[in-house]
Amino acid sequence: MSGILLPTLSKKKEVDSIIRDTLDKLLVLRFGRPSDPICLQLDDILFKTSHEVSKFAAIALVDIDSEEIQVYVKYFDISLIPSTIFFFNAHHMKMDSGTADHTKWVGSFHRKQDFIDVVEAIYRGAMKGKLIVSCPLPPERIPKFQLLFKNL
């Protein structure tokens, strides 16, 4: 449902253009596949909040199984799905949420307001010229995961 209503990108060119052409707005890219249950949950939250954050954020879904997207999957080091990556004016925005990976948000959110808070925190940080912001959510509502160093 949400996959139909939010733009779903399956080509590298589309991802390129959406990163390049989203100006002065936070771009939220969700890397995942619609068959994954956690991914579906995240998609649902993204879709429901997409209107509320539409003034300062744009949300797009990226199909991780697409052939052309693999270059991004490798480049963004996506090993777990769903992974959400934030861009502002074609600059990658990081967030320190106490997990191993600052470059992306891995997993879903507990509720809509959590996602709105995160997007707002990153947007405000970006408007102040910061490339990394700290997570506004309490640690118990941040999904935990473990990264293996260079997949070893």
Binding site: S17, H102, G129
Partner: protein
């Protein structure tokens, strides 16, 4: 004790002071007489008076050269006398600024001016600059009388012309040209229609004939014949002077400076310009003259912006779209860049990209002209250092992967098995 008494008296005085309105500063104040010495008051007073003086300057030009007033212009004219707080309309006056001049010369106005200057400052010695002196009034009245006489003695046609409502809506131009008359050349107008017959005013109606016997030129002869162009074209066009060259007729009767010709041409597109087509005219034509009479609003043709064929309709739609986009993006840009923090992340990039997008919309550069290998800056998970480095690293990795794949593919070249016997049997044949 005495000091206290004085203080109390002062306080009482202060309390007694009432608020009064200063119409120069347009504010209520309780500063009493001292108000007029405040610099703000002085500033606004000088601008207030200079504004009125500038209004009077036009009037003074008419005072020197009285001219008749068409009823059409009478409606537009009028003066607001700031000293008497009254509006002087020119509704029933037969000469330009007649009522105003009479008002400014009146005793009531003089009293009001004096009172104003006493109340708001500004120097009593300036009274004369805000009124018309009696000697000036006398001169003006004399001139008017002579004008009237001249008008009555001249041909009736001119009166027909005067009584007609002119099509001129550019009254401002009119006053400008009259100013130029005064500045550039020495003309004395005794004719009643000297000022009223202006290039734009001339009726295109061809039924009347006018001659201008009263207008004489005080010779200031430098380059006059060349500079001289007829003031009213239709008049000259309809004059029955078969052998006379236009320049002569122009110089002999009615001349204006070249500038006013410019003004005439630039302002007249339809009627006057077309009526200018006459065999006797040999001037260089400034401004474009239509070869054929173009259908205009008088002939009931639709306005040019409503005329569109199929193509132009499409084009119009497209351009409108583009224009709208442009406008939106422009306003967006100006609005946003004003509002947004210039130090935000990627501000320079956003500006650059926005300009690029605008150009893409206009079709100046091809859309989506980025490389296939374009990647955004990305800080990788295990990356220390700048974000550009992570891209370089990734590209290096890709290159390495590509190389490995290539070498592995090259190493595993599958060859069909050939027995040694077959090899040995084929080689001698080749040798043979």
């Amino acid at each position: 004790m005495e000091k206290e008494k004085k203080k109390k008296q002062k306080q009482k005085q202060k309390q007694k002071r009432q608020f009064e309105f200063c119409k120069v500063c347009k504010l209520n104040h309780d500063q009493g007489r001292g108000h007029i010495y405040f610099p703000n008051h002085k500033k606004s007073l000088s601008s207030f008076l200079s504004r009125f003086l500038s209004n009077l300057s036009e009037l003074r030009s008419f005072l020197k050269n009285p001219s008749s007033l068409t009823p059409h212009h009478a409606l537009q004219n009028g003066l607001w006398c700031v000293f008497c707080d009254s509006n002087i309309s020119e509704l029933h006056s037969s000469f330009a600024c007649e009522n105003s001049i009479k008002h400014l010369a009146g005793a009531e106005h003089l009293n009001n001016v004096r009172e104003f200057l006493r109340k708001y400052g500004g120097g009593m010695d300036r009274v004369d600059s805000f009124r018309v002196s009696e000697s000036d009034l006398d001169k003006w009245e004399k001139n008017c009388k002579s004008l009237k006489n001249a008008a009555s003695s001249s041909s009736e046609g001119s009166f027909v012309h005067l009584s007609r409502p002119s099509k001129d809506i550019h009254y401002k131009l009119n006053s400008v040209t009259t100013d130029r008359f005064e500045k550039t050349s020495n003309f004395s107008f005794k004719s009643s229609f000297s000022n009223s017959v202006m290039p734009l005013q001339c009726n295109t109606n061809e039924s009347y004939q006018v001659s201008h016997p009263e207008v004489t030129r005080v010779a200031n002869s430098a380059a006059v014949p060349y500079d001289a162009v007829p003031l009213s074209m239709s008049t000259h066009r309809n004059m029955d002077v078969p052998g006379m060259s236009t320049i002569e007729s122009a110089a002999g009767h009615h001349t204006v400076c070249m500038e006013s010709q410019h003004a005439c041409f630039s302002n007249s597109r339809g009627s006057t310009a077309t009526s200018f087509h006459n065999d006797s005219w040999s001037f260089t034509q400034i401004g474009r003259l239509p070869e054929e009479p173009i259908a205009n609003v008088y002939s009931g043709a639709p306005p040019p912006w409503l005329e569109m064929g199929e193509e132009s309709g499409i084009n119009l739609g497209a351009t409108k779209d583009l224009h709208m986009n442009d406008v939106v993006s422009h306003s967006d840009q100006s609005h946003k860049s004003r509002k947004l923090n210039p130090k935000r992340v990627g501000a320079a990039w956003a500006e650059k990209r926005r300009i690029e997008l605008e150009r893409e919309k206009r079709g100046e550069i091809a859309a989506n002209n980025c490389d296939d290998s374009w990647l955004p800056n990305f800080g990788r998970v295990w990356q220390a250092g700048t974000r550009k480095e992570s891209r370089k690293e990734f590209e290096m990795e890709k290159q390495r992967l590509f190389n490995i794949e290539n070498t592995s593919e090259a190493s595993i070249v599958i060859q069909p098995y050939k027995s040694k016997k077959a090899v040995s049997s084929t080689t001698p044949k080749i040798l043979l």
